[in-house]
Symmetry: C2
């Protein structure tokens, strides 16, 4: 199996102590514990420490507790295409939920913690709890809205601006922002070449809108970025 739930990685979820208060799989631990917490490290060797693999049987959902998970596909030429970044509180695997086979791969971008929810258990719970199905439907709908927004036609500057604001809203503090992912991964997600991402950041820096020190971004003029990236609609996602 792609995802190893062996004892040395497996930990009780301790939902009551979890910082992700809005976690959709939050339970009271003592009762029906139908999830397990796992720590993950990103690896250079592709394939190791993978949560999901495209084409393999769907194993379930993963709730991100800490870190950053990417879901991605590999095309015929072997190029990686990032479909989404998942931050704490997000669910990974919604696009494969009812399907027998996973639609994409998923792997950690930085050291991460996730809670694994087995598909079989999920199906069982959904059949009886309409609330669970409704909640998952709502989460999926939001992802759909976001995907549709991003699939519009925007300039490189608009995409990058919207992306920075989105990441800042999720894991930023004050006006500082630490990007968990590489330029290549950002470009893959935004459909831009690595060099273009780099150039756009340099352009923003020239304008005095931010300071980009590698993965550490300091926002100096968030308003300008917002004005530019607003049409993309990544942030406001209703």
């Amino acid at each position: 199996m792609a995802f190893d739930l062996s004892p040395q990685h497996r930990v009780a979820p301790h939902c009551q102590a979890c910082p992700v208060t809005s976690c959709p799989t939050r339970c009271d631990d003592t009762a029906h514990t139908w999830q397990a917490m796992v720590s993950l490290m990103p690896s250079q060797k592709p394939g190791s420490r993978t949560l999901m693999r495209a084409g393999e049987p769907t194993e379930g959902l993963f709730a991100v507790r800490a870190g950053c998970i990417k879901s991605y596909t590999i095309d015929a030429q072997g190029n990686e295409h990032v479909r989404a970044f998942h931050f704490p509180g997000d669910l990974v695997g919604l696009d494969s939920l009812g399907s027998s086979r996973a639609a994409a791969n998923a792997a950690p971008v930085t050291p991460s913690q996730v809670c694994a929810v087995p598909a079989a258990e999920l199906q069982r719970q959904m059949a009886t709890q309409a609330t669970l199905a409704t909640m998952l439907l709502e989460k999926t709908r939001r992802e759909l809205s976001q995907a549709l927004s991003l699939s519009g036609e925007f300039t490189a500057d608009q995409r990058v601006a919207a992306f920075l604001l989105q990441v800042h809203a999720r894991i930023g503090s004050a006006n500082v922002l630490r990007l968990p992912m590489t330029r290549r991964e950002i470009g893959s997600y935004l459909r831009l070449a690595t060099e273009t991402v780099s150039r756009v950041l340099a352009r923003f820096e020239e304008k005095g809108w931010l300071v980009a020190a590698d993965k550490r971004i300091t926002l100096l003029n968030a308003e300008a970025l917002r004005e530019l990236g607003e049409p993309v609609g990544l942030g406001l996602a209703a």
Copy 2:
């Protein structure tokens, strides 16, 4: 309200006689009829005969019975951006389902028939019937998969090839295909200029892959198109 359910348009659904056998809202008519069938004509005047309007309160879902419905947004410059085309059997409004306000506009592309399912009724049914919520989740997941596929980085030729095959699979017969929408609408959906769509079709015709007589397309080499458009993954959508 954007969608007029006045008596002169309203017709009992007659699900038993409906050609859309896989309609997710299919009912036995005599029992709880929580939908109404409506005929729609496309209009030049923007705004008339609109099913949904972005930003207005969500009225519910629409099941397409015949014709073709587009959902779209209007940007700050007044340009239309088509997010999806919906064919018989599809549901319109999944991206607005749990939200209080509609995420997009929806209007007929050709003369169409839809069944309107009020949001309030839907919510009530979902609360008790886990099956309904699961079905809607599955439909939404498929739309999400498709949106994610299309949001990849592909050439104009790949996009158009995939699009033709998708439409053919939905409403084509043998090797003939009648496009319900204009070149501008196709381009808007595929993120291409109108002229580019036209040029790509001319290119395909030069290669002997198809004959394009305005909206009537005759496929001569579907295999070539499939090979080209396969990476887009619009058709296979698991």
